[in-house]
Subunit: 383 residues, 2 copies
């Protein structure tokens, strides 16, 4: 299989590591952030724009692509990469998260999960094997096992049974694997329970996955739980495999998880925030719709070199946002993705230069501490 992961450098004062994932479609330097391309497009951007800001890999949502336009359609059109004109690596999730957050009338059995499409109500049945087939058919570079993503809060009893099921499904995914399949990552579940997280991690790491994800976070739990789960789980994951924290997160979350040894991240935050006019800057998040920017001739961030900051004023971006113009989403998304890519670049550089702990003290990460409009003490407490 084409998949490789090598660690280039370990941080001496934390679990952080600088690494490289190699796939059929090229390499991803880690720690890496994968923008989310839910429906076969990272919303509002072209692949060229993604590459220009330094994106090396994106995430595709199996649930969405399976429902629309359908994985078989995509396969007949040459696979996902060709279909969406993105020639770099694609990680596909298994659909588990969406089935448990978007779909209706879910019914879980040992066999798999039945659900109704959130689009048209049509009924579908997905099994671990089927999810493997879909991701194979899409031509993904990194596939994820089918998992049950339990809501927060859930009882210990429920989560224990669910975690056992996820492990059972993970074994079935492995058994269904073919020699030319994407790399396959297991997903540690276990909700907010330390014993279940440890058990899940131990059970899965006995199996032959090419990487390990931590799932079930960002489901509404308090921030402090994410830290706990990371601290409980990460030490059980093999050093030699990439570790992927699914659906996370804010710059602070990412930095914190990097210190715990996480290598991969994905999140809709930079893209969704952009469309809502929330922009990340070196001095904190700003909401571009605020009246204070009505005649502000400056860029989003004085220290940013992205296309949007090089050419447009906050006043213009505010105008576009209020006028509901498509260009608003584009320029904001370019900026936020650029911010995330620069963040990851800084993290990788800091690991290389043995100064990751110092980096934590610099302003680029203290975005919530200094943020202009929101105060979230939980997030500030992180740093």
């Amino acid at each position: 299989m084409a998949f490789q992961f090598e660690i280039l450098k370990k941080d001496s004062s934390s679990q952080a590591r600088l690494g490289r994932i190699v796939t059929h479609h090229g390499a991803i330097m880690t720690p890496a952030f994968l923008p989310v391309g839910t429906q076969g497009t990272v919303k509002s951007l072209t692949p060229e724009e993604l590459a220009e800001v330094g994106v090396e890999g994106i995430l595709g949502n199996t649930y969405h692509l399976y429902l629309k336009p359908g994985h078989e359609t995509i396969a007949r059109l040459g696979g996902l990469h060709r279909f969406i004109h993105w020639e770099k690596p694609i990680l596909t999730d298994s659909g588990g998260y969406q089935i448990f957050s978007l779909a209706k009338l879910r019914k879980i059995s040992e066999d798999g999960v039945t659900f109704q499409s959130h689009i048209d109500g049509s009924e579908h049945f997905l099994t671990p094997e089927k999810v493997m087939e879909i991701q194979r058919t899409l031509g993904s570079d990194i596939a994820m096992v089918l998992d049950e993503c339990v809501p927060y809060p859930s009882s210990h009893e429920y989560v224990m049974a669910s975690t056992k099921l996820t492990t059972f499904w993970a074994e079935r995914c492995l058994k269904a694997r073919r020699s030319d399949d994407p790399a396959l990552f297991g997903i540690v579940q276990g909700g907010m329970y330390r014993d279940l997280r440890e058990e899940s991690a131990r059970d899965l790491t006995r199996l032959d996955f090419q990487g390990y994800a931590i799932g079930g976070l960002s489901v509404g739990e308090p921030k402090s739980i994410m830290q706990d789960v990371l601290e409980w789980t990460a030490p059980f994951l093999p050093d030699k495999s990439p570790r992927y924290l699914m659906g996370v997160g804010t710059p602070e979350d990412i930095l914190h998880a990097t210190l715990q040894g996480i290598d991969l991240f994905d999140c809709v935050l930079p893209t969704r925030n952009a469309r809502n006019g929330m922009l990340f800057t070196s001095r904190g998040k700003i909401s571009i719709k605020q009246a204070r920017y009505a005649e502000d001739p400056g860029p989003i961030d004085e220290s940013c070199l992205c296309y949007s900051c090089r050419h447009y004023s906050r006043a213009y971006l505010r105008h576009l946002y209020l006028a509901n113009e498509i260009l608003s989403s584009r320029l904001n998304t370019i900026h936020n993705i650029y911010y995330y890519m620069e963040l990851m670049k800084e993290i990788r550089k800091a690991i290389q230069e043995e100064r990751l702990s110092q980096l934590c003290q610099t302003s680029i990460f203290r975005v919530n501490g200094l943020q202009e409009e929101q105060s979230d003490q939980r997030q500030t407490a992180f740093l």
Copy 2:
């Protein structure tokens, strides 16, 4: 004043001419089509993308920019060009058309027009002098006089009075002109009445405008009336000045008007159609949402070299459209604007090479005759 117009070549078998408009912000080869940037953006595209497909000038809507974000705000931010990051020529309309199509509770007097904003109901009073001031403040390259755009149908009596008012306002615009003002174009009105069109043209051409527009078309009248009005009006417009047919139109409309000696066009058609999934091709218009394209691996138009056609299938574009993705509007708009720019390039080349009448017979213009999904006999009858 920086404005110049020179005719480089006249067609020997029609009134068509190849020319060049020169402004402070560069030149526009004519016949030219100006995409519409209503609210300070040609919807969904960046200025770089416009330039890349060959756009040399765009239209800005005074009515919209006056209301939001306000011409004085734009002036304080360095003028419209700098505000929207477009350094090539901008033609601004006077707001007349929008006041008479979008705004509410209009009240016209000799002085000017009172109306309520379609956005927030606020009351505004625009005079010929005020409209000049707004366009000056925006930093437009070509300004238009305030006119009353009468609805179709309107009585001869009403249109006669209205046309006299438009001429009176045009005189006041001229009187209000300063030495550093944009070039100023008069607007021939007169509804669907030959005598009034002729009178309007004669009255206006006695005045010292740098160009002449034909207004009041595309207001719901039958296609044949547009031809009539063009034939009645164009011969009265001075040869040495650019002639601008406002708000027009389809490729067929543009070709027909070019034969009558029109040099400038603007229309929301290519951009609006794009967002609605209607794409212009050398074989006719197509609606990308149609089921027939669900697995079509070909580009929108086999003979098109635009970015969208070089990289994406009809199947992907259909998927993006149905998934309501922003990238759909972008890729469709790039294609349609490219189509219009290639059309204008072909027209200019044909005038240069004395083969405009032959061009009318070639397929690129017979888009409605061959169109795949709509049949509009009126339009087909044009050619």
